[in-house]
Symmetry: C2
Subunit: 362 residues, 2 copies
């Protein structure tokens, strides 16, 4: 994560993972989730926070979920319907459950199919927020599988290259693969220049946006360093930004996500989906279907070691690969606690009072 | 394609598709290919030229292939071995056949598997040049399937973000999906800022490279507009170029390709593969495994029409989606002929003499 997204040191309160996890589970149970779903959903959020991806952890998301439940716009006890199924595939209706609640179950289903057939893919329509996408490939990696996840998050944020109107959300993609001794490769990116949640983070921590990250409401790229406007005051550019830097590539990947997640699940193109009607595509590929997993993982070690031990260009300390720094952050945060912004801890403790829950952070 | 890659009008010779196709097939047969393989391989090149992707058509590639056969470094009659197979997957050893010869057969195999099971994926090790990747999803689209292709093209060209040494090739990705009335979505991009073949095209047509497209041999990004150096005189940056414009995203997708194509096929990481030892991954996903193909294609029409009829930002004529302009170009070129550079036509006619073949272009 770029430094501009880190919580400033003076505002940090270190909270032990177990404490934040316990409080989060309590809140989900209070919202009406079963114990199992509360555990599952909290694990997605806490895994984000442990990996240093606080844009998708409890700090940005939990209060939104509570507000949605309060407004009756999210179903804590969804009746997940299987709309179509084959030995390699399934299409699910999530019945307006949270993505972080239904998604992990869908990936488990994909993994079971892949265990039997070699590949499993599940498309989900009609779900809520899906959280940090890296979570889903991480599930597959534990089973010596390659994991993929794509999410169509509506259509009101991202403009096509050269387009004046938004038709996509941030439409993220994640892809992961296991290694043997090296931490796994876990790639997780928005197809916009930056995740929308991260724009909102800059507002809390007082940093700026880069040129060609966002557009005005006429679709014209904003080429100055600006403060992040609020939702509704901007649109976002596909990654690459300009044509010369590959903006058509970001736009193309966003379209792939709209197709694989939105259209293939039956949720429809993002720009026609309702406000909280997200969709998700997950796929698990069993490595043994192609070659011995031990050989695959030995080659992964060779690649990942080559990348992470390479001499960096001048001015950079180190070359990373996707998932490496996040893996290291987990070790650190499991020991030191998660550095939340003090506002987040205040919110947790205030929520305990309002919801009559028996916890206190840190 | 950016205008800088077009053949200048004064150098264009229009050649009818059938004439170029016939000459190309003759050359492949002369190199030792079977009739069927010559037809198949020529179709990959001519489809590129018809789509306006001349960087991957006969002009850049055919003389390379002829040179490789001449040097005994490419096998015209490969004995394709099935190393592992399941109802959804296969791993092939291409026995040093050209990618454009073995790849279409691998995608046919994936399509047959997907027809039966819902998903089919084939990984190929030890093949030669794979041509324009869009060709492979186009095969799947004809069967109401989504098609995917990734190619690890060695390891000597692309540096990781912030890295000083190349470990990837241009490592392209293609993804396509059918629509009903709209031309299909067909996305095909290098994970570098630009395809290597296109850099070489700029040399023929005398245009410049953009800032942050390539690096020096120390990995430092070249931020000026420069003439393209020859192979061996530069490395390439992942798409996005800089961290702020998503260079880590291009780098991540390049890593995915190295894994899905190189490692999963058993070819190994690109940086350890031999000079002409490419690999390929193709996948076909049957839409009916998830929902009715008619519903999928109706939604595709809604998405693609929304994109292509949108008001562009100031200074742009039109918003495209991937595959649209290429589809239109096919109609034009089937009628008018393919605008080859006169040097290419000269090469063809010279080759006819040297190889004792009975054709003359245009």
């Amino acid at each position: 994560m770029l430094k501009r997204f880190l919580v400033p040191e003076k505002d940090r309160v270190y909270v032990k993972e177990e404490a934040a996890r316990g409080a989060t589970e309590m809140i989900f149970r209070k919202m009406g989730m079963t114990d199992e779903d509360a555990t599952r959903s909290a694990d997605v959020l806490l895994t984000s926070d442990l990996r240093g991806c606080e844009s998708h952890g409890v700090s940005n998301m939990l209060r939104n979920y509570v507000a949605l439940y309060g407004a009756g716009r999210q179903n804590p006890t969804p009746n997940i319907k299987v709309l179509r199924e084959s030995p390699v595939s399934a299409t699910l209706d999530a019945d307006q459950g949270l993505g972080i609640q239904v998604g992990p179950q869908a990936m488990e289903m994909a993994i079971e199919k892949a265990e039997t057939t070699g590949i499993g893919a599940v498309a989900i329509q009609n779900c809520g927020h899906v959280g940090m996408l890296a979570y889903y490939p991480l599930q597959a990696i534990k089973h010596d599988m390659i994991g993929v996840c794509m999410v169509s998050a509506g259509g009101g944020l991202q403009v096509p290259l050269w387009g004046s109107e938004p038709v996509f959300g941030t439409h993220p993609i994640a892809w992961g693969a296991p290694a043997d001794k090296q931490p796994p490769f876990v790639f997780d990116v928005a197809t916009t220049q930056v995740a929308a949640n991260k724009l909102m983070l800059t507002r809390r921590i007082g940093s700026h946006l880069e040129p060609a990250w966002i557009t005005g409401l006429d679709g014209e790229p904003i080429m100055d360093e600006v403060d992040s406007p609020n939702y509704g005051g901007f649109y976002m550019l596909p990654f690459g930004g300009t044509r010369e830097n590959g903006g058509h590539k970001g736009y193309g990947f966003a379209t792939i996500v709209d197709i694989m997640s939105g259209i293939l699940s039956g949720n429809g193109p993002g720009f026609l989906a309702g406000g909280n009607q997200h969709s998700q595509f997950v796929m698990a590929i069993k490595i043994e279907a192609f070659l011995d997993a031990a050989d695959f993982k030995a080659d992964m070690d060779k690649l990942l070691e080559r990348l992470s031990t390479m001499k960096p260009v001048e001015g950079q300390e180190r070359v990373y690969y996707a998932g490496l720094i996040e893996h290291e952050e987990v070790q650190i945060r499991k020991e030191q606690g998660i550095p939340y912004h003090r506002e987040v801890v205040d919110w947790f403790n205030q929520a305990a009072g309002e919801l009559e829950l028996n916890y206190s952070l840190p």
